[in-house]
Amino acid sequence: MTIDTGTTAWMLTSTALVLLMTPGLAMFYGGLVRTKNVLGTMMHSFSAMAVIGVLWAVIGYAMAFGTSRAGIIGWDSSFLFLNAPFDGMLSIGDNKCIPEIVFVMFQGKFAIITPALISGAFAERVKFKSYLLFIAAWTLLVYFPLAHWIWGGGFLTGEAIDFAGGTVIHISAGIAGLVAALFLGNRIGYPRNSMRPNNLVFTIVGAGLLWVGWFGFNAGSSLSSDACTGQALAVTQIAAATGALSWMIIEAIDNNKISSLGIVSGILAGLVAITPAAGSVAPWGAMVLGAGASVICYFALKMKEKLGYDDSLDVFGIHGVAGIFGAIGLTFVMKPDATEVGFLKQLQYQIEGVGIAILYSAAVTLLIIFVINKICGFRLSPAAEKAGMDHAQHGEHGYGFVNLD
């Protein structure tokens, strides 16, 4: 077996691109909160790079991609601290291989961004140290098992199609966000007071970086550098563009004004919906998924207004909803050869996968939050919440220039 330097190059690049998504997410979320919480919100993303970055190397890869124990969880003591995988090789067919450590790093980035995604649901109101505990526990108890089940040889592997993590990442994070938002309750003053984004300019650039990074996310998930990779990139691009265009049209009809936050919300909805499907659909299918995701997310957000809960940055409303839509919807638009078990069976697999992810993520998330809340409290004190996370918890101010130097 020889190393395929081309595929290795693309996988290295994809790893860098997916890493770029975390600062991108920090910008996206950071711009949407109020000024007094901008740093704290960005730290939710950056601290995930630190905590989960270490956790993944120590134990995560072993749990997700170690030898499957009864289909429930992976384990290989030689995988701890990446001992064995550091020098391993991963066959990619055709007597070619890539270094296993590249795959480890690529997957590690997914583990980092998933808990960071959740943080948008309870933005502006949690204790930072409890948050750190939460993401560590959640990744250990929810993400690693789910990744193992669907990708790592667990009991769902080979059943549900989940090309780049619609179920493992977006649905699980979306549901966890919803549960956390409901458990923790609304921000003080929500929805009575208007809570406007402190820096939409920043949010838009963040969305741009997310789009760029998503090419690594989806096209990297093919573990190749060939037609399949190009196709994954193409449908990602097309779904994002269609999602954005659709959201613009909906807004134009509904409001007569097209907003910048609308465009980027459409981009995200399209990107999330195509994530599980990036290996299974043709361009027209990507358009259907992108457009559909925008429509359904738009109305999901309207529904949230009515229900009045405070999923602050719409983690469930975008990632959860578009993730579910994409995972199930792909069955209706996939290429004929994308499944070997036929439409109905595949639909069943997809619904099963989604259902399990929802139930499992909801249950374990609730448990984790409940325990952390008992031990050290999860929600900020009202005084700290009013003063803002940045000053109260981190002793900093995001925009020094607004005040005087």
């Binding site: 007094k36 003053g189 005084a383 009013k386 981190h394 002793g395 101010h397 607004v402 005040n403 005087l404």
Partner: protein, 113 residues
């Protein structure tokens, strides 16, 4: 007519506005300022504690007729306090307002407030 200028803590803005509205004072002008008084507010910079010289505050300006002055002041004092009064809670200044015009209509005096 009087011009009331209140300096308050930023996190109290919403509460003060609500208290003013209850006191039937709906028109106000608000701006960001920074202040220096008795309060200290510690920030951290690479492990070092720094005491900024100037702390962010909010300034509220209210033009009102004499009969509203007292209730405006009471509304602000009671809503802007942290736990019954802490350092940095702020000040209220009252000056005399000689004339007032509404640009929209050009009218002036007490009805233009």
């Amino acid at each position: 007519m009087k011009l009331i200028t209140a300096i308050i803590q930023p996190d109290k803005l919403d509460e003060v506005r609500e208290a003013l509205i209850e006191a039937e004072i709906e028109r106000i002008t608000v701006s960001r300022v920074t202040g220096h008084g008795k309060q200290e507010d510690i920030d951290i910079y690479r492990g070092r504690k720094i005491v900024p010289n100037l702390i962010p505050k909010i300034e509220i300006k209210i033009a009102c007729n004499e009969e509203f002055v007292e209730q405006a002041i009471q509304a602000i004092i009671s809503s802007a306090r942290h736990n019954g009064g802490e350092l940095g809670d702020g000040k209220i200044f009252v000056t005399n307002l000689e004339r007032c015009y509404r640009i929209r209509t050009g009218e002036s005096g007490g009805t233009a407030i």
